[in-house]
Symmetry: C2
Subunit: 242 residues, 2 copies
DNA sequence: AAGTGTGAAAATATTCACAGCG
DNA sequence: CGCTGTGAATATTTTCACACTT
């Protein structure tokens, strides 16, 4: 089995998230010659789905090898896509047979980096933040919200399960002492940049932003975005012009 | 835990969502001036961002024409991308000047189909659903949650502002009588397909799915998905292999 | 026989670069 | 001038199709 290859940051971001670079300043002169085997961004995102399917099959006790064709039916991606995506990371399939569910699941865990636990900070305990606090699917997959923070003093001390909402000033200390490496930012748009600056300042290098605005982060900090407006407006577009 | 369902599907859709299924049934609407090229999906999603920027500038009273270069800095997309995206729908820019903010905003509203109101049904009043009920950004942009539904009888009658949670059986009637045309599905994964079937059966043709599973919809029904696991796992990947 | 892994082709999407207009 | 709109050039992603392995 091969070794994992790496992808570095895209020159311009694909729309849904993950932008570290800027069209203007960032020269992106880095990999002049190492460009040969880049892993498509969509491949990574599909990997999550493959992983979920493999995990689910394994949990159901369905352990017969999984063909790309079956995976295609289960995920909605094409079989060719499945094979190509997985082949980027080596060959864990057996010809004439398929992909062993257990190994596939384990490999995908490693590739995605979720074979370890990740501790998250939630910043912004409003409606959405509260919902995320009780979103069990995170813990499920090894992501644990280890701290909740909010700028609003009225919210400080409020309890959510084992967590108490803390002031933003305690974020840097918590990040250091509690090995937090990802932040979920769920604050109003007009506070997002300031909050992200604090988050970045505290040493966090991975941010999931729910605020419907573009925020800037220094190179080396990864940013992913969930933008409900885009999703719903895309639906409106499809319903109108479809 | 639910099944891995059989499902035969004409595969291949973009990663995030939005599939009508058929590449044939496309129904492309030519822009203002009969420019009938195919419009990239990413373009549509970027349009939402352009719209937000234009709207925001207009709200701030910044009415000087907006150059593609400035839009680039405001959105993080490249200037060429901005011009190309907008040009798909006609030419509302003035050479040597830029795009008039007001007109741009208005045009984008029309193109996106948000120059009218949209009434939504929220299905699944759990943590996430509750958060969405109080997510003010929706109403802001002309999307109004007009009904909340849940299969759990214990939740029926519960009030959220002007809304009361109703049983699923009342969905079809509500869709008909209250002009609801989009559904937000925020139920656990193992209930998603059943719920979507009811939603589709009630005549809704646009669905925003928050459940982390693949659901099937008949051709002609548009499906968009928000999958938090994918986002967070993508971050984990970037942090691990970046 | 069945199904992976992969060159090569096709399809998409982005960027360049500049003609042309206000 | 400055900036749009757009062909042409590039880059990226998907699909095809088949050699090859179990």
């Amino acid at each position: 089995m091969d070794i994992m290859r790496r992808a570095s940051d895209p020159p311009s971001d694909p729309g849904w998230g993950a932008s570290t670079g800027e069209p203007d300043s960032d020269g992106q002169v880095a990999g002049r010659e190492g460009r040969s085997n880049r892993i498509p961004q969509m491949t990574i995102r599909r990997l999550s789905t493959y992983y979920r399917v493999a995990r689910s099959l394994e949990a159901c006790g369905e352990l017969e090898p999984l063909s790309s064709d079956r995976m295609s039916r289960l995920t909605g991606f094409t079989a060719a896509q499945v094979r190509r995506d997985l082949a980027y990371f080596g060959s864990f399939g057996k010809r004439g047979v398929g992909y062993p569910v257990g190994e596939l699941q384990a490999s995908l865990r490693t590739i995605l980096g979720i074979d370890r636990g990740w501790r998250l900070a939630l910043v912004g305990v409003g409606n959405l933040g509260t919902a995320l606090l009780s979103y069990r699917n995170f813990a499920h997959q090894g992501f644990e919200i280890a701290g909740a923070f909010d700028a609003d003093p009225k919210k400080h001390g409020r309890a959510f399960g084992p967590l108490r909402v803390r002031p933003m000033t305690e974020l840097p200390g918590a990040v250091r002492e509690e090995q937090i490496s990802i932040a979920i930012v769920a604050v109003p748009g007009d506070e997002a940049q300031a909050v992200v600056d604090v988050v970045v300042g505290s040493g966090i290098r991975g941010i999931l932003n729910f605020a419907p605005v573009k925020v800037r982060v220094p190179a080396g900090v990864h940013l992913s975005r969930v933008d409900l407006s885009i999703e719903i407006e895309y639906l409106a577009y499809l319903l109108t012009n479809g």
